[in-house]
Subunit: 168 residues, 2 copies
DNA sequence: TTGCTCCTCACGTCACGTGAGGTGGC
DNA sequence: TTGCTCCTCACGTCACGTGAGGTGGC
């Protein structure tokens, strides 16, 4: 939860990992990491494409996430030839696409869970029903106590060898 | 189904409606409808942004759908300032977004239908179970015929006043 | 002092739109 | 003949990247 320094182990790297959104790179470093001219980064900020943090003295501080965004912009402009208006639009659309993908995953998971619960419920009722209509004489006493109003009632009956199906 | 001429009534217009994808406009008309220079349309075709049909003589023929695409391109370039690479990317992304939206709708509909069926099934079983455990003496004879192996069996019992709920 | 930061201004390049110019068939 | 179509070539404009130039604080 904390935005402070933290280490992550595994993932094949021993490097100290920095919280994604913490401003850590001065403009020259960020520019080199993104393979851009520092002046270009300043321009992108004016255009509203990127908003690095600032040190108390006013020095720009770029986060890991900022650098990744810059690399994405770099790819869109250099490789795909978009202008900055296009970059803006595309980043926004990709954001929405990402949210839609999450939505689809969520819906699929919910549907699967609902199906599971439905099967469990039906199974539960089947067992309940089966217990009601065991053959005469299978058990010593099967006491059915009727209720006056004749509405829903559940009667528990001791079952010797309950039929078990799959995982419930 | 047919791609041939057809009329549609209603929708507040008496105009003859043309199948969306049929090539009907010469370049000067399409250009005017899209508020573009004819030469620009030729350029877009070279760039692969639009592919009008051709008459046997080689004259470009733009469909209603082509014109709408042109207007969309017009909006993206003039109003939003994208270049053509951006337009290409954005149109492709919007296509995917549209498909995702359809996917989400479909999943939601499926989930609703599943829930409906589940409720119906549970209801059906409840009724079945309720019929089994009617109080003694409610009906003249309730004959339970046991089966030898004691496994699943369904026993149908005449019910005088079946409880009917909603549409099944 | 060196090397960074901040900023503004200016220029080169490239994409894009469009006009010109010449051709051909209803 | 007029007005459209087809095409290619060329030029003006604008966006963008980047270099220069001057400032200030570790």
């Amino acid at each position: 939860m904390s935005a402070r320094r933290r280490r992550t182990t595994g993932e094949g790297s021993d490097a100290v990992r920095i919280a994604e959104t913490r401003g850590v790179f001065m403009i020259s470093v960020a520019a080199e990491l993104a393979d851009m001219h520092p002046q270009t980064l300043r321009m992108y900020e004016v255009r509203g494409l990127i908003t690095p943090k600032r040190s108390p003295k006013g020095t720009r501080l770029y986060s890991q996430a900022d650098v990744e965004r810059l690399r994405k912009i770099q790819r869109l402009t250099t490789e795909e030839g978009l202008n900055l208006a296009g970059v803006e639009t595309v980043l926004e659309l990709e954001d929405r696409l990402q949210k839609m993908r999450a939505e689809v995953s969520k819906l699929r998971a919910e549907a699967a869970e609902m199906e599971r619960q439905m099967e469990a419920e039906v199974e539960r009722m089947k067992r309940s029903l089966r217990a009601e209509i065991v053959p005469y004489g299978a058990y010593e006493t099967t006491e059915l106590r009727p209720r006056g109003d004749g509405r829903d009632q559940t009667v528990k009956i001791p079952v010797e060898r309950p039929t078990r199906r799959r995982r419930s």
